[in-house]
Each structure stands twice: as structure tokens, then as C-alpha cells.
């Protein structure tokens, strides 16, 4: 049976009357949305928020501040991308170690790993970042051996603690979603437990995990902006946007532009995740199993 996107479990195929009603509803809805948007636009215009001088530093190359604004944006975007890539790389390494440790260690040895995972999964990531930052300063931990400023590493370590336990759980769900026969067959042909994990289970789990990992990258990208809220001196994109809006005195316009950049990047990533997921699910059956563990909030 053909099943186009708009058709749902909720309704029968619409007949002529239902189609007419839907059309009337659509027009009414459009009018309502248009009216709401018009109200917003009028309010914005009323308060002078659509004035050219508030927007031109962002959108008009001939504006004298245009270059400075986009220079700051470039620095901020670079800082955000550096923090996000370091965090995803570290989370991946630590997360795989944690996940494998949780699956392979014995009942007793596993306990500290499980506690660690539950601890950082339960903590708000913003608390973790503040804690890492303040504790490291208080204990005078010297991060001088690492490239880049200390604030970057406070952010990266905080993000890694949170996201690595999520990745560990995604990995575990990925392994659990594989058919039991995979592990059993590997053991039956005489592979050790470690060989089974590293050459049979993990490679398949990674494939299943890939969409979930991309979704996690979106989470990390969004969470880098927490630095701007807690006053950590790391000048990522949102912090730069706030600096710009303070100088130009245009919070609406600056936040709009910075928000739009985040949305575009994250939207592209989420499309990529969907695409990868669809490709994988063509070849193997259970691609979405790992996705169900954690919604990308």
C-alpha cells in the first residue's frame, strides 16, 4: 500500500468533504500565522528594531563596523568549533573505554564504572563545567602543558565528562541491539571475550551508533555556549555575539544572527544524521536502536 508522508495512522484517506475542510483550515491557519507574524513585525518596527542602523553592521558590507563584527564572529565560531571538536574527540575515546569497561568487567569491578556513568549522567552539564572550572582553579591544577588557554580545557573537560558517559551508554545500547547470535558465534569458533568485543561486536555497534553520535555532536555544539552563561572566560560564538550586541546596543539583531548560525549548522548536522541513519537501516535491520537511548536535548 502506498503511504505518503502526510497520511497517518490517525485518519482515513480524506474524501472530497474532508479535503475541502482541510483546505479551509489551511487557509484559516495561514491567515492566523500571517496575522501573528504581522503583529510581531509591527511591534518590532514600532520599537525601531527593524531600523537599518541596527542591522547594517551585520548585513551591509559597506557599513564601517561590518568587518569588525564578522571578524569577531569568525574568532567566536572558530573557538566554538575548536571546543566542540576537542570535546567530541575526547568524549569518543573516554566513552568507548567506559562503555567497554562496563560491558566487560566483572560484576564487582564494574561497580565504580557504573557509579561514574550514573553520576555524570545525572548531573546537569552546566554544573559539571562549573565544578571542573572552579575545582581546578581552587586546587591550582596547572593545565599549562596543554595547548590553548585554560578556560578552553575547563569547558572541554566538563563537556567530555557528560558526553562520554552518554556515548558509553549509546555504545552499550548498540552492542545490546545486535543479535545475540553474533557474540555466541564468535565465542563458539573459539574467540576470546576480548576478540569477540573488538572484532565482532564493536565494529557493528559503531555502525549502528553513527547517527546517535552525530546527534551528540549537535548537543555538544549547543552546550559550548554554556560558557557564555556561567561567565567562563572562553570567547566562543555566543560570548562574541554578546560582546557585539553590547557595543552596537542591538541584542535582538545580534542574538538573531548568532542563533541563526547555530540553527543552520545544527540543522545540517541533524539532516546528516537522518541521512546516515536511513542509509544504514537499508543494509542492517536495527539502526535506530541506539537512537532511542538519549534524545538529543
Amino acid at each position: 500500500m502506498s503511504r505518503d508522508r502526510t497520511e497517518s495512522v490517525l485518519y482515513d484517506l480524506p474524501g472530497p468533504r474532508a479535503r475541502r475542510r482541510a483546505l479551509v483550515g489551511t487557509v484559516l491557519g495561514l491567515l492566523l500565522i500571517a496575522a501573528a507574524l504581522a503583529l510581531v513585525a509591527m511591534r518590532l518596527a514600532d520599537r525601531g528594531q527593524l531600523d537599518a542602523e541596527l542591522w547594517s553592521p551585520w548585513i551591509d558590507p559597506s557599513d564601517e563596523q561590518f568587518g569588525a563584527v564578522w571578524g569577531l564572529v569568525r574568532q567566536g565560531a572558530t573557538a566554538t568549533l575548536i571546543a566542540a571538536s576537542l570535546a567530541i574527540a575526547c568524549s569518543l575515546v573516554v566513552g568507548v573505554l567506559l562503555g567497554v569497561a562496563r560491558m566487560m568487567l566483572g560484576r564487582v569491578l564494574r561497580v565504580p564504572v557504573v557509579l561514574f556513568i550514573e553520576l555524570f549522567r545525572g548531573l546537569p552539564v552546566v554544573i559539571t563545567i562549573v565544578f571542573v572550572w572552579r575545582a581546578m582553579v581552587e586546587l591550582k591544577v596547572d593545565l599549562g602543558f596543554l595547548p590553548g588557554e585554560a578556560a578552553l580545557w575547563y569547558l572541554v573537560i566538563g563537556l567530555t565528562l557528560y558526553n562520554s558517559v552518554i556515548i558509553a551508554e549509546i555504545l552499550r545500547a548498540g552492542v545490546l541491539s545486535l543479535p545475540r547470535g553474533q557474540g555466541e558465534a564468535a565465542r563458539a569458533i573459539g574467540m576470546t571475550e576480548r576478540q569477540t568485543m573488538s572484532s565482532i561486536l564493536l565494529p557493528q555497534a559503531f555502525r549502528v551508533m553513527l547517527p546517535a553520535l552525530i546527534s551528540q555532536l549537535i548537543v555538544i555544539l549547543k552546550d559550548t555556549s554554556l560558557a557564555a552563561v556561567i561567565g567562563l572566560g572562553y570567547l566562543e560564538l555566543l560570548r562574541r555575539g554578546n560582546q557585539i550586541s553590547q557595543v552596537l546596543d542591538n541584542p535582538i539583531q545580534s542574538l538573531f544572527m548568532v542563533g541563526a548560525m547555530f540553527i543552520v549548522i545544527n540543522f545540517a548536522l541533524s539532516r546528516l544524521a537522518t541521512y546516515v541513519e536511513r542509509r544504514l537501516s537499508h543494509s542492517s535491520g536495527s539502526a535506530s536502536a541506539a537512537e532511542a537511548v538519549v534524545p538529543a536535548t
Binding site: 495512522v9 485518519y11 553520576l119 554554556l226 545544527n266 536535548t297
Partner: protein, 216 residues
């Protein structure tokens, strides 16, 4: 742990304040998310488009930007409220997109044959919805909905960091920067407070999931 034990009353009131933020956001995001989910599955194309646009925009935007927009953008157009109201509203808007998707995934999880069979035995649209489709949809929506809301509980700390004042996060700020206590014990107290909330919620969710799980 002395700073924590000396200020237990402060922690307690901060804990309650955080629970307040969480309670209002839970209520608001469920209502708004349900409305959006209804939009997204409705036969009316313009409402569907509105729901899709809302989810796409809100889900891909950091919560921090939503909050900054509320607190610094809205006053520019003459909308003024306390940080508390702005914070909760921002959290509601952000969480609503995830609630909507969790509910929609629940509806999509119901097999088409269920509705077809219901219609085939002559149930009306209303009966099909209330007796057959929605009860099953609700059951499959519980686990993702629970994760979304627990994530929201954690995000309430961002609202706190943002400057609502007097909530669990702010207690940490007050004790350290205003009263000069050391960070590690104070923040440990804050962390324990949030863990109590999220771990309890996790256990309750687990019980609820077991209760509504569909035996297949």
C-alpha cells in the same frame, strides 16, 4: 562539608525554588508540546508546517540563546517580566519542541492496522482515537517523554545559571562569591541537590515505564 551543613536552610530553599522552576516548566512544556504535536499530525497543512518550523528552529538553537533572547531581546520591544518568568518561559519553549517529537514518535509507533481494524468494526473517529490509537500512543511515548523531561530538569540549572536567583545553582554562587566559602564543598552540595532530583526522577520513570510497558 561544613559550608553545606552550615547553610542547609539556604540549600533547602534553593532546592524548592529549583523544583518550582521544574514544576512550571513541566506543566508548560507538556501543554505546549501537546498542542504542537496535534499541529504536526493534523490534516491541516498550514498548522503542520507551523509545527515543523517550530520544532526545527527550537531544537537546533541552544537553550542559552533562547534564554538570552527572552531576557535581553524582549525588553527591547517592551515586553518586561521577571527573570523567573523569562527563564521558565524560555525553558518551556525549548522543551516543547522535544515533547512534541516524543509524542509524535508515540503516535507513529502505533500500527496502522490498529486504526484500520477499529474503523473496520465500525468505531467512529472519536472512538478510534480515545479507545484504540491514543492509549497505545501514550504508552510508547512514555520512555522518550521521560528522558526529555529529565533532560529538562537538568536544563533548569541553566535557567538558574542565567540569574533567576535563589535557586539551587544560585545558592552555590551566593555562598562562594558573596560569602567567600570554598568552591569544592559548596558545589558538591549543589551537585547532590541536582542528583537527588534527577536520580529520583529516573527511578520514578523506570517504575512508570514498567507499569505502562506493552507486552509484545
Amino acid at each position: 562539608m561544613e559550608p553545606v551543613l552550615d547553610n542547609l536552610d539556604l540549600y533547602w530553599s534553593g532546592f524548592l525554588r529549583s523544583l518550582g522552576i521544574i514544576g512550571w516548566s513541566l506543566l508548560g512544556s507538556m501543554v505546549l508540546g501537546t498542542v504542537l504535536a496535534a499541529f504536526r499530525v493534523s490534516p491541516v497543512a498550514s498548522l503542520r508546517a507551523f509545527g515543523t518550523a517550530w520544532v526545527t528552529l527550537v531544537r537546533n538553537c541552544p537553550l542559552t540563546i533562547v534564554l538570552f533572547f527572552m531576557a535581553f531581546g524582549l525588553p527591547e520591544v517592551g515586553v518586561n517580566a521577571s527573570f523567573y518568568v523569562f527563564g521558565v518561559t524560555g525553558l518551556v519553549i525549548y522543551t516543547s519542541a522535544f515533547v512534541c517529537e516524543a509524542l509524535r514518535s508515540g503516535i507513529n509507533a502505533v500500527d496502522r492496522g490498529q486504526a484500520e481494524a477499529a474503523r473496520a468494526i465500525g468505531l467512529t473517529f472519536g472512538q478510534t482515537m480515545t479507545q484504540v490509537v491514543l492509549p497505545q500512543a501514550f504508552r510508547s511515548a512514555v520512555p522518550p517523554l521521560g528522558s526529555v523531561q529529565i533532560a529538562m530538569f537538568k536544563n533548569s540549572a541553566v535557567v538558574g545559571a542565567f540569574g533567576v536567583g535563589a535557586d539551587l545553582f544560585s545558592v552555590g554562587k551566593t555562598l562562594t562569591s558573596a560569602q567567600g566559602y570554598a568552591y569544592i564543598p559548596v558545589l558538591t552540595g549543589v551537585a547532590i541537590g541536582y542528583l537527588v532530583i534527577t536520580l529520583t526522577a529516573g527511578v520514578l520513570l523506570g517504575l512508570l515505564e514498567r507499569k505502562v510497558a506493552i507486552a509484545r
